[in-house]
Amino acid sequence: METISHTSQAKPNYLNADYGLKSWLLTTDHKRIGILYLISISVFFVLGGFFAMLIRLELLTPAGDLVLADTYNKLFTMHGVVMIFLFLLPAIPSVFGNFLVPMMVGAKDLAFPKLNLASWYIFMIGAGFIMYSVITGGLDTGWTFYTPYSTTYSNSNVVAAALGVFITGFSSIFTGLNIIVTVHRMRAPGLTWRRLPLFIWAHYATSVIMVLGTPVLAVTIVLVALERLFHFGIFDARYGGDPLLFQHLFWFYSHPAVYIMILPAMGVISECIACFSRKRVFGYDFVAMSSIAIAVLGFLVWAHHMYVAGISTYAALIFSLLTFFVAIPSAVKVFNWTATLYKGSITFETPMLYVFAFIGLFTIGGLTGVFLAAVGIDLHVTDTYFVVAHFHYVMVGGTVTAFLAALHFWWPKMTGKMYPENFSKASALLVFIGFNLTFFPQFLLGYLGMPRRYHAYPAEFQVLNVLSTAGASILAVGFLMPMIYLAWSLQYGKDAGDNPWHAAGLEWKTSSPPPTFNFDETPTVTWEAYNYDEIDAPGGPTHNKGVEVAG
């Protein structure tokens, strides 16, 4: 074990190693690239949130009085495209995966540092095309680019947006490739697979999906572009083409993509829950394997998005059955996290508050997903707000919540500074209340039959919509607060020290912020993951955490 340095300011680290814009834009340091990603996706999160705000404002009243129907179509499309392709997909893997995976495996960097930098540039170029489409009149196909609307009828700038999605896909592939190779080839001596943090397992599974799924989306987009530009007829029913084939190919990627968004979040939860319960994650092997199981099963369920689209009854039933299976590894995770809490020394720092929020919200989001997997229920609620509420419980209640947990948990490591605990707890509370107030009414709306993607609705739905819009305002405050106090903490935050949480994991054994090559010496691992019993044992490094320590 290395000595704990309280004078990390003086030590050279990745932030003060070099100065100037050029030193950032040409860096191959995985930590700096992680920060570049963090800044980029934060901007896109605000932009996507801005579109969401306009949507909620329009829905405050039953009449379509704020924007035209066409504009509304563009708003929900751009909200979806920006949030999914420019925020949720890269959010955790490209920011925290980039920053933490090499440190967690005890490596100096990812296996291919230049490829890593290239992936950020590719991401920004793809984002540029999407932004071009947004600026030049917007996109109105829905984020799913369904044919034949996207190929034949839409007058918006489909090709630029599709090209942007195609290009950001490469960024995703390169990140996934880098993580897979790093986990296989760059682990420190003694760090066996079963000693890896569950964060690594989750990111490994995510990367497998990125590598296997994204190319299918890429070729599908190529076919859509060819169809739109040259009228190829592959998805055009006038020529005998089948629009449903697009949906098959699209969802072969885009359903697993949902797991690209949620699996890394699950990895974050495993890290945080172990630390703030001072316990090894219950059933480590099962949690690790459930990540792999989700990645594999995730490829077998895609057509549950297409029950009413015209697929055969037989296929619908098969996909329904297969979809139920995904609930098993997801439930394994939730039950094991809950069991980890049992007899743990639980404390309620901000990341842990987000963990509790995650477990509750993900459970609701996941279970409503099981409802939707059943063909009979899905026929009733397809394309209603029930579906919207379901995936926002998973994507916002799950992924964004875990993203915030990760941001607070590793902020001291990334910056060397502590965030103000009172403000962060208040914002966590606002996020939780605001989120539920926004999206729970949407379950009710959907069940009552309010369809999604309309800018006007019957008057009897107004009360629930007003609740939802009110919740969205609270949620917006909850999201804005961290941006302010985290920025504030960069200048005025207390020095964090190397390991403020007394957490296990190799990333906490180096200084905060870490030096450019992460470790002064390559560590040799002789302990199991989450060895909190050893850390908290008498004579262990835990001192004043307010935890009951025997002796």
């Binding site: 100096k108 080839r185 070729v219």
Partner: protein
């Protein structure tokens, strides 16, 4: 153990030694090829679905293909795979001249393939077989000529993507030739040659399936 004899410029800071670095690069390249399998796989899936649905149109479309040109291109590509594998082999032995010759031959064969492909494309163009508003197909038999257009759509999409990969491969070969001329490859460090080799063989592999699927399997069927 880092070997001090090797050119240290080739060893990146985060690897223990060149062996570690090379094995890592190879594994990374294979992962990339896995994404390529899935990329072309999506198009193959579309091809299969439509072949099952529009069998007669598929037979008619397939029978317009010039088997002779397809076969010539197959042979050209197989020969280029041999010269590619030999250039990797000679690069590993540090034989710069032989490496250069083999790389050059690979490049020439690759360009030959693209040339023949261009001749084929030109023929389809002249026969109005390019999908779009000007598509026209003299049909006899029980099928809609639009379905033949879907066949040609997939034909152009698949062979076009394949040709694009060939063009990228040709660019990589030129890059290798320049680096080889500068003496950058040694028996210790020749990873780029090997990586481009893997890529080139993969492109060959795609053609190995495209050739029978597009040209052969319906050739003698009496629709």
């Amino acid at each position: 153990m880092p070997d001090n004899q090797v050119a240290t410029q080739d060893l990146k800071h985060h690897f223990a030694d060149l062996e570690h670095q090379k094995a890592t690069s190879t594994f990374g390249m294979w992962i990339f090829l896995i994404t390529e399998i899935m990329f072309f796989g999506g198009a193959f899936a579309a091809y299969l679905v439509y072949r099952l649905y529009y069998f007669n149109a598929w037979v008619a479309g397939s029978q317009t293909m010039e088997i002779k040109l397809g076969a010539i291109n197959t042979v050209v590509l197989i020969c280029s795979s041999l010269t590619m594998v030999l250039s990797v082999h000679f690069a590993k032995l540090g034989k710069r001249k032989l490496t250069a010759i083999c790389l050059l031959l690979t490049l020439l064969l690759g360009c030959t393939f693209l040339g023949v492909k261009a001749v084929e494309y030109h023929g389809h163009w002249m026969h109005h077989e390019v999908p779009g508003p000007n598509f026209h197909f003299e049909h006899e038999g029980n099928y809609d000529p639009h379905q033949v257009m879907i066949f040609f759509s997939l034909y152009f999409a698949m062979t076009g993507l394949h040709a694009l990969h060939m063009i990228i491969g040709a660019g990589l070969l030129i890059w290798l030739l320049i680096f080889n001329a500068r003496g950058r490859f040694t028996p210790e460090y020749n990873t780029p040659v090997e990586m481009v080799g893997l890529y080139w063989h993969f492109v060959d592999l795609v053609w190995i399936y495209l050739f029978p699927l597009l040209y052969l399997i319906s050739h003698s069927h009496n629709g």
